[in-house]
């Protein structure tokens, strides 16, 4: 797990609070992608980061807070050419206290009517991140990862 060693240069950090609905999440993503450190990333990595953050934040809104009110705090820090992300919330704990496995729903040989319309999120998050870590401390969920 990062954070980086002490000799690393000072890092650009951005922190914001996000509401728990899809519109608040979209607004937050747009704000983040316009601001350092996310805005300073290589465009390819920036796009991946936006996808991952969208999945993470919408998951928190939909599952941890189950559509109810609450706050999500996102802290983004630049670590060399990558982005260190910490997302905290005070919603419900993850099922069994751990991250979902992110198994991709089957598509091969599946009938049209049975094609999956969801269940992609954790596969996408796991595929695009490194050092993914989840902890539950008191009543707070904390998810951290590197993109």
């Amino acid at each position: 797990m990062i954070p980086p060693a002490k000799h690393d240069p000072p890092r650009m950090t951005f922190q914001c609070r996000v509401g728990t609905n899809v519109f608040a999440v979209r607004e937050a993503l747009l704000a983040m992608t316009r601001t350092a450190p996310l805005a300073d990333l290589h465009p390819d990595r920036r796009d991946l980061a936006e996808i991952v953050l969208a999945e993470v934040l919408n998951n928190v809104a939909e599952h941890a807070y189950a559509g109810g009110p609450g706050d999500i705090t996102v802290t983004l820090s630049q670590v060399r050419d990558r982005l260190w992300c910490v997302v905290t919330d005070r919603g419900r704990v993850m099922p069994q206290g751990q991250l979902p496995p992110g198994t991709l729903p089957a598509t091969a040989g599946v009938q049209l009517a049975d094609l999956p319309e969801g269940g992609f999120g954790w596969h996408v998050i796991r595929s695009l991140t490194a050092d993914l870590n989840y902890t539950r401390d008191q009543d707070q969920n904390r998810l951290s990862f590197l993109i």
Binding site: L48, I51, E55, N58, T107, A108, E117, G118, V124
Partner: protein
């Protein structure tokens, strides 16, 4: 959610005029697509060349549209931007759609049907 259509004898083209299909617009996208495809029996070509961002909700909505159209009416995709292509590839959804590099490529396949 703004969608523009072009109707040809064998193809209905739907051009997404937004730069994102995300959790905030997925339901609206699906409903508008349902309205636009309620009549007619042409292949549907969805032009995604303006869409720079697609999350898993947006992807789910595109799959839902394919299911709405049923087995006898194709939904084909055209003009995927790199990020959108990446989402399709990661979720292996690129294997269940016919994907054309551009809208005009999709039209040139008209004779095939």
């Amino acid at each position: 959610m703004q969608l523009q259509t072009q109707t040809r004898p064998k193809i209905l083209s739907v051009i997404v005029m937004e730069d994102r299909i995300d959790a905030a617009s997925a339901i609206q996208f699906k409903e508008k697509m349902r309205d636009l495809t309620q009549t007619g029996d042409q292949r549907v070509v969805l032009d995604l060349s303006r869409v720079m961002f697609l999350d898993s909700s947006g992807l789910g909505a595109i799959v839902a549209v394919k299911k709405l159209l049923g087995p006898d009416r194709m939904l084909e995709l055209a003009g995927l931007t790199p990020t959108v292509k990446k989402v399709f590839r990661l979720t292996r959804m690129d294997t269940i759609f016919t994907i054309h590099s551009t809208h005009s490529d999709a039209l040139s396949h008209d004779t095939a049907s």
